[in-house]
């Protein structure tokens, strides 16, 4: 930063794109200095290109936007409804929110989503853990404490989104996962040796074999640009960290990514490219997809993760299905079979889902 020779005064340089207005930000992706108006154009155009080039949608589809009230999903809802009008995608858009039952966090962020419903004119559906599982996250934390609660929340949220989407009868779910999130997840999956997730975490669309595919239109969109966009457009979003989420491991990965970005912003896209180009050795056994014997949800065990966790909660054994299965009661139910079938993987993916980001 010391090397900048031009006048240091704010707003003294012209936009590299239009050459007329004062530059307002430096794009991390290209290092171009562009003005606010040109930024809106390139930001929206790149997302449109991502949508078109990857055939994310077909005309007439019903699409649920996973909406937490946070920056990413708020910008996604705004941009997608703009692009849908501008380019005649012909989509029926909905907001789909999950109420995990976290007092002082989710209740506040849901108020933001309710305002977004009016601001963007998109119908909103809220599904709650209480209705689906008869447990709120507040109840779960009371029962199990502040360790591992993110595992419950992540597993339950994933299913809750699918169930909400089924209620809305949508063809697709879109989520606001951005390039920084995906780079972070690539690193985490490497750090955990989770080959199955490593190979699919960079897919722009997942779950095409399941009932409702999910896609990530912000796969190549930098977090910095999403936040700048929200700031310049004065979008109404909620920005408090979940009160139950220490998320230390993901936190380290996140901080590492941000440090890399400061030195070389391209690093984020390069990590995604690396993730996309891993080739999995043919001798690596991958999980076989089946359905849960109890609830019918797609899974690779006898029972899906949510049913195992719920079983533990209801039987007063909340550690069931949590963490390392080498000893103790955690090997019950689905895990016994897992160990027999794929001993090399029995440690890897059990703690794989954290916080807001599950792939």
């Amino acid at each position: 930063m010391q090397s900048i020779a031009a006048p240091a005064r704010a707003g003294s340089r012209l936009c590299a794109r239009c050459g007329e207005r004062k530059a307002a930000l430096k794009r991390p992706k290209t290092l171009e200095q562009i003005c606010r108006e040109c930024f809106y154009v390139v930001f929206e155009d790149e997302i449109h290109r991502t949508i078109v080039d990857n055939n994310l949608f077909k005309a007439g589809e019903r699409v649920a936007i996973g909406a937490s009230g946070g920056k990413d999903s708020t910008v996604l809802a705004y941009v997608l409804s703009e692009l849908n009008k501008r380019h005649n995608y012909g989509l029926d858009l909905f907001l789909l929110s999950i109420d995990e039952g976290i007092t002082g966090y989710r209740d506040d962020s849901l108020e933001t989503v309710k305002r977004n419903e009016l601001q963007y004119g998109l119908p909103l559906k809220i599904v709650s853990y209480k209705d689906l599982y008869d447990w709120t996250m507040d109840d779960i934390v009371k029962a199990i404490g502040l360790k591992n609660n993110c595992t419950f929340c992540g597993v339950f949220r994933r299913q809750a989104l699918d169930r909400g989407a089924a209620l809305l009868k949508v063809d697709k779910i879109v989520t606001g996962h951005n390039a920084d999130d995906i780079a972070e997840t690539v690193l985490l999956n490497i750090l955990r040796g989770d080959i199955a997730r490593l190979s699919r975490c960079t897919f722009i669309t997942t779950g095409e074999d399941g009932p409702i595919p999910r896609c990530k239109p912000f796969k190549y969109t930098y977090e910095k640009e999403i936040v700048m966009y929200a700031y310049f457009k004065k979008l109404d979003y909620f920005s408090t960290e979940c009160i139950y989420s220490p998320n230390a491991y993901r936190g380290f990965a996140r901080e590492f990514i941000k440090d890399l970005e400061r030195m070389r912003p391209r690093a984020i896209l390069d990590i995604i490219t690396s993730g996309e180009n891993f080739r999995i050795s043919t001798t690596t056994r991958m999980p076989e997809q089946g359905t849960c014997e109890r609830c019918g949800y797609i899974c690779s065990q006898k029972l899906c993760k949510a049913c195992v966790l719920l079983d533990g909660l209801n039987r007063g054994l909340p550690k069931l299905g949590i963490g390392r299965s080498a000893k103790g009661g955690a090997g019950a139910d689905g895990n016994g079979e897992r160990q027999g079938k794929r001993p090399e993987r029995n440690r890897s993916s059990l703690q794989g889902k954290h916080g807001n980001l599950d792939f």
Binding site: A10, S239, N356
Partner: protein, 100 residues
């Protein structure tokens, strides 16, 4: 000099009474006696931040992932830490380091 400081993206929670906008009169001098962002950051750290300073500051700069705008312009275009401030400038800090 008079400055307007704005804290967003949850950074307000680190300040007393979680106030988002602060009108301040400061002389944010750095080591060379110039009114720079570097001087302002150290002033903010010792005068406004009440808890978890590591969420805001890392080393002598903001923590990576905290965006800074001076008069609505990305501080990366203004010289970053060396950007010189003037009377009535508006400096905005936005954290991107939360779920969403």
């Amino acid at each position: 000099m008079h400055l307007t400081l704005e804290f967003g993206g949850g950074l307000d929670l680190l300040l007393e009474k979680s106030t988002k906008v602060h009108q301040v009169d400061v002389q944010p001098k750095d080591d060379e006696g110039k009114a720079t962002m570097k001087g302002l950051l150290s002033w903010v750290k010792s005068n406004l931040i009440k808890e978890r300073p590591e969420m805001f500051i890392k080393g002598d700069s903001v923590r990576p992932g905290v965006l800074v705008l001076i008069n609505d312009c990305d501080w990366e275009l203004c010289g970053g830490l060396d950007a010189e401030l003037e009377d009535k400038d508006v400096v905005v800090f936005i954290s991107t380091l939360h779920g969403g």
